[in-house]
Amino acid sequence: SQQGEEDPQALSIQEGENATMNCSYKTSINNLQWYRQNSGRGLVHLILIRSNEREKHSGRLRVTLDTSKKSSSLLITASRAADTASYFCATGGQKLVFGQGTRLTINP
């Protein structure tokens, strides 16, 4: 069964704006991962945040984790057209359980 929910399910913004996606999960975790999927192809690993971390940065990506609320957020700053993709959070270690995903569209 799916671990949790992501919201929004779809997000459309203008190029240059920031995009924020949220993920909730149900069970305790050791870490949470975010992935990007372009056009229904393979997944690209973006970032992993451990349960003892609250925030992590990678380039234009910022991920936060609130274990008390069982939630995480992914912020993409200064969005580009190439950021158009689906974004998934996943928990579970080796056997990943994915959220429903957010379809992000960046309009030029």
């Binding site: 229904g40 192809r41 393979g42 690993h45 992993l48 056997k95 990943l96 994915f98 959220g99 429903q100």
Partner: protein, 112 residues
């Protein structure tokens, strides 16, 4: 890191037939994972393939429908048997290295 390839990248098949998907990784790994992504949906784990032992299937997936082979530490196959249109999905393999999971490019299957 890991580089993973899958064959075929896509296929269109007739109902009742079977398709075998290959997954090749560029390093030796203990476990390989197979996921299914139905149209417009998220990914669901089908099974874990261990070298030298039978695959472990998740709830809702059975060996007769999705037989898996794992002949060595760099290769695995997933067969989708007796296909129906409901099997139309993207099938992805993955491996875990240093906590991170790496995914293949996926096989897009359409069953008519």
């Amino acid at each position: 890191s890991a580089v993973i390839s899958q064959k075929p990248s896509r296929d269109i098949c007739q109902r009742g037939t079977s398709l075998t998907i290959q997954c090749q990784v560029d390093s030796q790994v203990t476990m390989m994972f197979w996921y299914r992504q139905q149209p417009g949906q998220s990914l669901t784990l089908i099974a874990t393939a261990n070298q030298g032992s039978e695959a472990t299937y998740e709830s809702g997936f059975v060996i007769d429908k999705f037989p898996i082979s794992r002949p060595n530490l760099t290769f695995s196959t997933l067969t989708v048997s007796n296909m129906s249109p409901e099997d139309s999905s993207i099938y992805l393999c993955s491996v875990e290295i240093n906590v991170r999971q790496y995914f293949g490019p996926g096989t897009r299957l359409t069953v008519l």
